[in-house]
C-alpha cells in the first residue's frame, strides 16, 4: 500500500461518496447496478482494513536507506524526508537520487504505469 494521500481507504471512500450522489439521479437497472457497486466497494473497504498492511518492496527500500528496522512502516517517508532535509545525505546526493527514482517509479507503477512508458520516449 502506498503512503501517498489519499490512502487506499480514502480513495475508496471518495468513489463511494460520488457513487451515492450519482445513484440518487439514476433509476431502473442503472440504479440497481450503482447500488451493487457501492456494496462491492464496501466489501473491498472492509477486506483492506481487516487485513494487516503488508510491508512492500518499496517500504523495504526506504528501510534500507534509513538503516532502520524498528520504525513502523507508516513512519518511513517522514523519517527519510527529515533526514534529507537535515542534510544527512548531502555527501551522497547522487546515490540518494538513484534510490529515490526507484522509490518514485514504484509509486508511478501504481498510480499510472503508462506514464513510465510514455516518458521512455522522452
Amino acid at each position: 500500500m502506498a503512503h501517498d494521500q489519499p490512502d487506499i481507504g480514502e480513495l475508496i471512500h471518495t468513489v463511494q461518496e460520488f457513487l451515492s450522489q450519482l445513484t440518487k439521479k439514476l433509476d431502473g437497472q442503472d440504479r440497481y447496478y450503482a447500488l451493487c457497486s457501492s456494496y462491492l466497494l464496501e466489501i473491498v473497504q472492509r477486506e483492506l482494513t481487516q487485513w494487516a498492511p503488508v510491508e512492500t518492496d518499496d517500504d523495504k527500500r526506504l528501510r534500507s536507506i534509513l538503516t532502520d528496522n524498528e520504525l513502523p512502516r507508516s513512519e518511513l517517508p517522514r523519517a527519510l524526508s527529515e533526514a534529507i532535509r537535515e542534510g544527512q545525505f548531502d555527501d551522497q546526493m547522487d546515490a540518494m537520487l538513484a534510490h529515490l527514482i526507484d522509490h518514485v517509479t514504484s509509486k508511478v507503477e501504481v498510480t499510472k504505469p503508462s506514464y513510465l512508458v510514455d516518458t521512455q520516449d522522452n
Binding site: D4, Q5, L62, P77, S81, M93, H103, N122
Partner: protein
C-alpha cells in the same frame, strides 16, 4: 434581515444571476438585462459565469469571476490584487480581458469582478493538435515572447501591491512553507528542495512575472493568442521563472520534444524572447525553474488533496490530484538526473 450592506454570498445560481442583474445595472446602466447565462466549470476556487449584458439593440458578452473558496496558506492572490493586475497589464497593452468593474460589499457576490469575454479556445490538447489552430501554432512562440517581454518590462514600482507576496520575497521558501503546512512527507520532494537550494541560480533582475504562464491559461483562436488569463500567481521575481514554467514538462501535454508548452523547442523560445527585446536568456536558470516548476505543481496537487481530506470541498478530481503527485516527483527527479529533457 439582510440589508444591502451585509448580503451574504449565495450558492444558488438563480439568486446569483438575480444579484448579477442588479449589480450590472448599478454599474453599467439601468436598462441592461443579463441574458444567455452559462456557468463555466473551470477553476477550483472561483466561479466563472458568462453572460450577455443586453441594452436595447446592443449586447456585450461579459464574464463574472467570484471567489468561492479561500484556502489557508493559499498560494493565490486576493481577488482585489488580481483585478489591479488586470487593470495594470491592460493599460500597457498586454492581451488580457478588459477589466469592467469589481464587486462591492453590498452586491452579495463575494469578492470578484466583471471582465470582458474573449472568444477562443483554452483546452491545451485541442490547441496542440486540432488542424483548426495550425496557423495559430505557427505564430505562437513569437506571440508568447512578445507578451512575456511586455509583462517583464512593466515597472515593478507600479505593482507595489505584490511586495508582500511570499513568492516575491522567496519563491523556494514560499513552496517550503506550503509543504510544511500540508504536512504530507514526500522524500523525493525534500530531495528536490535540497537540490534546488544547492543549485540556485544567481539572482537576476526583479520583474513583474505572470507566475502561471502556460498552455491552458491562454485564450487562442485561429489567428493566435487573444488573451492571457489567471493572474492569481503573479509576483515580482526572476523573468526566467516565466520561461521555465512554460517549459515545465506537465505543460507540454505529451509533446515532450517541444519544451515550450508543447508548441516549440526551448531554444526557439529563447531566440524569440531575445528577438522581442527581452533580457539575455540564462538557459541554466530556466532549467532550474523547470525543475522548480515540477516541484511547484506537485505542491499544488498536494494542496488539492489537503483540501479534499481536511477542508470542505471534496471531489474525485481532488483525490486524483493527490495521487498524481508521484508523476511530478518522477518528472523532477528524472530531470535532475539528466534522464529527461
Amino acid at each position: 434581515m439582510n440589508t444591502m450592506s451585509d448580503l451574504e454570498p449565495s450558492d444558488d445560481l438563480a439568486e446569483i444571476v438575480r444579484r448579477l442583474q442588479v449589480t450590472v445595472r448599478a454599474h453599467l446602466g439601468n436598462n441592461i438585462d443579463v441574458e444567455n447565462v452559462s456557468v463555466a466549470t473551470l477553476g477550483g476556487s472561483s466561479r466563472t459565469i458568462i453572460f450577455d449584458a443586453v441594452q436595447a439593440e446592443n449586447s456585450r458578452r461579459l464574464v463574472s469571476r467570484q471567489e468561492t473558496y479561500t484556502l489557508d496558506q493559499s498560494p493565490f492572490l486576493a481577488p482585489e490584487k488580481q483585478y489591479k493586475l488586470l487593470q495594470l497589464t491592460y493599460k500597457y497593452g498586454v492581451p488580457v480581458p478588459e477589466p469592467i468593474f469589481e464587486f462591492g460589499d453590498g452586491d452579495g457576490l463575494g469578492r470578484g469582478h466583471i471582465m470582458a469575454h474573449v472568444n477562443g479556445e483554452t483546452l491545451p490538447k485541442k490547441l496542440l493538435h486540432d488542424p483548426r489552430f495550425a496557423a495559430a501554432r505557427e505564430v505562437f512562440i513569437d506571440q508568447v515572447a512578445k507578451i512575456l517581454v511586455q509583462i517583464h518590462s512593466i515597472d515593478p514600482a507600479e505593482a507595489r501591491f505584490l511586495d508582500d507576496s511570499l513568492d516575491t520575497h522567496d519563491p523556494l521558501g514560499a513552496q517550503l512553507a506550503r509543504y510544511d503546512y500540508y504536512d504530507e512527507p514526500h522524500p523525493a520532494l525534500d530531495y528536490a528542495f535540497r537540490w534546488l537550494e544547492q543549485n540556485r541560480p544567481d539572482a537576476t533582475q526583479a520583474c513583474l512575472v505572470h507566475g502561471d504562464f502556460r498552455n491552458g491559461n491562454m485564450i487562442i483562436d485561429e489567428q493566435g493568442i487573444n488573451a492571457l488569463l489567471d493572474w492569481e500567481c503573479a509576483h515580482i521575481g526572476d523573468p526566467m521563472s516565466d520561461l521555465g514554467w512554460l517549459c515545465t514538462r506537465s505543460w507540454r501535454f505529451g509533446n515532450n520534444q517541444l519544451h515550450a508548452g508543447g508548441f516549440a523547442t526551448r531554444q526557439a523560445l529563447f531566440d524569440a524572447y531575445e528577438r522581442a527585446g527581452g533580457c539575455p536568456v540564462d538557459a541554466r536558470a530556466v532549467q532550474w525553474w523547470e525543475i522548480f516548476g515540477s516541484l511547484r505543481w506537485a505542491m499544488l496537487n498536494i494542496m488539492q488533496v489537503h483540501g479534499h481530506l481536511h477542508g470542505t470541498r471534496r471531489t474525485p478530481a481532488f483525490a486524483a490530484c493527490g495521487r498524481n503527485t508521484s508523476l511530478l516527483e518522477y518528472d523532477l527527479l528524472m530531470t535532475i538526473a539528466g534522464r529527461l529533457d
